[in-house]
Structures are given as structure tokens and as C-alpha cells.
């Protein structure tokens, strides 16, 4: 295209008439329960605290939605430190779900989210089906929340998350139970530590999940060669960051055509280009995790980069590119 032509088109399509909004459809209650977001960016659980800290850096209402740090039934102090190890283009974390427990979450954290005008999602983790039921019951009806994200994939807890997340029938059972109790939007977050993620994704869909999120972290470790022992106090942890993005994008791409529910794609997003990559693969929304730890203003920067891409490619409605790489 000649430069003048591009310029003249750009005259028409300007930042102000770009439409970045996306809709995460709901399986259950049709339209009225859809999650409508002003843009596809959703903070990834555990990498953004509960909003307060990032709010020092920018207005987090600019984001599509906010996911809170994972909560459990009881308070947890987490794993021993070191809890984090840096690897090539990635990090391994074994935080171990340090959190104040669901009751404190409801009493102390949820009220604070009232200051925000964006949808809030609570990320929940459990060690048994009963845990998930308790969490769903306690969160049901909480107006502050747009929905919950069931974390079936945390690789840091012995005998816990990982086991549910790799067995399709367990994913189905837990999702189904939670679905019976919780009426808001339900996202099931899946582990990539699995032979075929489409099996667990389909299990979640069949059990009534409104959406799936992929991926949580890849089980990984690092050894301190001078100490000759694992670097993390917990031995194993979860790998995230740019290193894992090619695996995450592959999983989203593989799942897109098999699923009828929307996908929240995440893993290693650093820039607007990466968000576009996930959407082209089939993600309706895209999570930003590790990047916030490095660049606290990543959210608004990425939104700007998405807009640049839309202008360059003359895309008016961002949602039109979902799955376009197939």
C-alpha cells in the first residue's frame, strides 16, 4: 500500500473509534450473564496482589478485568523462601498460595474492590472437592464479584491442585459441583502439565463452566549448583513468563476449535503483540501475569500497543481477530 493511501485510511480510523471490547459468553444464563469487558486484558491471579499495589502506578479500571490472588478456605502462610527463581526468559515460583483465607477475603479484601469499576474475578484453590464447595458457597451472591476462577492447576501444593487438574473426570466433578452452587461467571483454570489439555477443557465445558483459562504454570525446578540442592525451598515450582508462551499459544490454538466456550489465554504475555498472538490463536481474553511484576504499568502500555496494531492493520473491532489464525 502506498504511504498516502495508508495515511488517508488512518484519517478515518483513529484511536477514538477503535473498539477493543470483547464479550466472554456465558453458557448458563445466556446473554444476561455474559462478561463484557472494555478490552481483553485480565490480570493473572497471584501476580497483581489485590489491586492496591498496582493502583499506585495507574488506574486499574483501564483493564478489562481483575483477578485476585488465589484464596483457600483457611489462611495460609505459603511456602518457605526462596520462593522464586529466575530462569532464561522465565521465572519459577512456589509461593504456595499465601493468602488470608476466604473469610478474611470477604471481610477485608472484597470491600476494597468496591473502589474499582472493572469486573473482579476471585481465584479459588482447594485441596478437596469439599474445599471448592465451601469456597463457592461463601462467594455465591457476592455482588462485588463478576465471577470466580477455579484454579485446578496450582502445581505447588502437594496432593492438591495438580491432581484435580490433570484428571478430566475430576475437573468435570468439581466444576459441576461449583456450577450448582455459584451463579456468577465461572472460569476453570487449567494446568499445562498434561498430555492433552483439550480433554480437561472439554470436561470443564461439559460440566457447565462459562470459560476456561489456560495456562497456569509449567511444573519446573532449578538447582543451585554451588549448594548442590534445589534453589526453591519447595523444590518444585511453576514456570511462567515469556519462556512458556509458545506452549500456551499452542494449547489455546489446539483447544479453540474443540470448545464452544471462550478461552482466557495466558502465559508469557509481555506486549500488545503477544495479546494479539493469543487472540489469533483463539483466546477471547488474555491474562497478564509475570509482566506486571516487571513492568507495573504493563497494562496501559499493552493497551496502547494493541491500538497501534489495530491502526496498522485497519482493524476496527478487536474481537474480529479471535481465532483468525486458524
Amino acid at each position: 500500500m502506498l504511504k498516502e493511501e495508508v495515511d488517508s485510511i488512518n484519517d478515518e480510523l483513529t484511536e477514538s473509534n477503535l473498539n477493543l471490547s470483547v464479550v466472554m459468553n456465558s453458557q448458563q444464563h445466556q446473554q444476561q450473564n455474559n462478561l463484557k469487558l472494555k478490552n481483553p486484558l485480565i490480570t493473572a491471579s497471584g501476580t497483581c496482589g489485590n489491586g492496591k499495589e498496582l493502583a499506585d502506578f495507574f488506574d486499574i479500571n483501564q483493564l478489562g478485568a481483575f483477578t485476585t490472588k488465589g484464596i483457600t478456605v483457611k489462611p495460609q502462610t505459603g511456602n518457605k523462601t526462596p520462593r522464586i527463581a529466575e530462569t532464561a526468559a522465565g521465572i519459577i515460583n512456589s509461593i504456595g498460595l499465601e493468602n488470608p483465607g476466604v473469610d478474611s477475603f470477604i471481610k477485608d479484601i472484597l470491600p476494597e474492590t468496591k473502589n474499582y469499576s472493572l469486573p473482579i474475578l476471585a481465584n479459588i484453590s482447594g485441596y478437596s472437592q469439599k474445599d471448592f464447595i465451601t469456597l463457592a458457597e461463601k462467594l455465591e451472591g457476592r455482588k462485588e464479584l463478576a465471577g470466580i476462577e477455579i484454579n485446578l492447576s496450582c502445581p505447588n501444593i502437594k496432593g492438591g491442585g495438580m491432581i484435580f487438574g490433570t484428571a478430566p473426570e475430576k475437573v468435570y466433578q468439581i466444576t459441576k459441583k461449583v456450577r450448582e452452587i455459584y451463579s456468577g461467571y465461572i472460569i476453570v483454570k487449567l494446568t499445562p502439565n498434561i498430555t492433552d489439555i483439550t480433554e480437561t477443557a472439554l470436561a470443564a465445558e461439559n460440566a457447565g463452566a462459562d470459560a476456561v483459562a489456560m495456562i497456569n504454570t509449567l511444573s519446573a525446578m532449578k538447582i543451585d549448583i554451588d549448594q548442590q540442592k534445589p534453589l526453591l525451598a519447595n523444590t518444585f515450582g511453576g514456570l511462567s513468563g515469556p519462556a512458556v508462551r509458545p506452549v500456551a499459544v499452542r494449547m489455546v490454538y489446539q483447544s479453540y476449535k474443540k470448545l464452544n466456550i471462550p478461552i482466557l489465554g495466558l502465559g508469557g504475555v509481555r506486549s500488545g503483540s503477544d495479546v494479539i498472538e493469543f487472540m489469533l490463536a483463539g483466546a477471547t481474553t488474555v491474562g497478564i501475569g509475570t509482566v506486571n511484576m516487571i513492568d507495573p504499568t504493563a497494562g496501559p502500555r499493552i493497551i496502547g500497543e494493541i491500538k497501534e496494531y489495530m491502526l496498522k492493520h485497519q482493524i476496527t473491532n478487536l474481537s474480529s481477530i479471535i481465532g483468525a489464525a486458524h
Binding site: G46, C48, T81, N93, I95, E98, I294
Partner: protein, 258 residues
Amino acid sequence: MFKIIANREVGPGIFQLVLNYDQLPQNPEPGHFFNIKVSQDGSEDPLLRRPFSIFDFDAAEKKIEFIYRVIGKGTKILSNLDNGTELDVLGPLGTPFSLNKSGGNIHLIGGGMGIAPLYYLAKKLKSSRQTLYLGAANKAELEFFEEKFKGLGVECHLAAMEEKLEIKGSALVLWLNYLEKNTPDYIYTCGPEKMLAAVEKEALKNNIGGELSVEKRMGCGIGVCLSCSCESRAQDQKNKRACVEGPVFGLGEVILGA
């Protein structure tokens, strides 16, 4: 915007980094740290920022200064950045030292690069009687700091592990040698966690109050990831984040590890 105006070796593998800034969210206090992105031009490795304590600060000239040791990949890359390079820097971060014991008899105890946060502190505590107990591997690592602290009128005692200065040994042993003769009102210490634990134990045993600064592995430095949690000795047992509630803690406030 931060720009490198000096990045030079001041001891074996020890660098002084001076940055010019155009604005800061607030002026740093002693004990604050900054989180510096060392990879440039979109390289994703190293991925995380690197935390460094403020070594010196000059508001008039808009300069912040750090002292760092080349340890691994990140500091290696940092040490090769030239003057004029623009750096992505977050800070000041964390909870600084309290300066309310100013005026008393103060001991500064530094192990290795634990010296870094103590200089700007000493500057701010100028009205106090200060004694520095500093340990490192060898004399060459100490010279730059000795000169700096002497410039502030701080009494300096030096120890090295590899050669005999005042003693051949650690800052801890050095300090203990003097503790009875010269009992401080308050101490500030920074260094390896094992040393901090030993200093804390001795101080508390002798009913000396003080503060320490810990170096925890950090994910974010801004309180969102909980990588840097320290177990609290307080009743509520709520963990404290080294990057927000710390890196400075009161003696006895958190459980020090290895």
C-alpha cells in the same frame, strides 16, 4: 527517565553506578531500594529487575547512586552499560531506616555489599556519634568504603576474611570485640542473612535496639507477588513483604533464615 552518568569499578568486581533522573515519585530515604531493569531493547533475559539499595542521593544535582557487586548475569550486563544509557528504574521502594535515634551512639555493621545502604544512612545521621564495623573478603574491597565513611567523620573498623586488617575474620567478630567497650544506643546492620541473625541475637541479648536490612530474592519489588515474604515474630504471624514492609525491619521483627 534515568540516565547513566557513571558506571565504574571502585573495587574488585564492585561498581559505582550514578544515574541522573528527571523526576522521582519521592526523594529516597536511607534503606530505600530501587529496582533496575538490566536487559535492554526488549531482550527477555534476564527477565526480572535487579534490586539495589540507595547508596547516595543528591537532590540538587538529581543524582542517585548505587554500589553493586558483579554476581551473575544481571550485574554483569549492568556493569557493561555505558554512560548515556537510559535505564528503566522503579523506586524508591520499600520501607526505609528510621532516623529517630539520631543523636545517640550508633553502630553500623556491614557485611560485604551490606555496606551499600549504610552510607546514605550515615550521611543522614551526621549529628550522631557513629562507628562502622565493616567486613569483606579482602582489603581491596574495603578501600573505597573506608574513604567514603571517613569523609563523613565516621570511625571505621575493618576486617577481612582473607588477610589480617584489624582482625582476620568477619564484621560480626570485629563488632563483638568492641561491643563491651563501646556499647551503642542503636545499631543498623546489613549483610548476609546469617550474619544478620547473629548480630540480632547479640544485640537483643545485650538489650540493644536497632534495624536491619534484608536481601530477599524478589519477584516484583512492589508487593504484588509475595516472593519476598518474611515470617513475622509478631503475634498475628502475618508475613511481611521484604519489598514493602521491608527491606528494613526492626531487630527481632522477622525470622531470619539462612
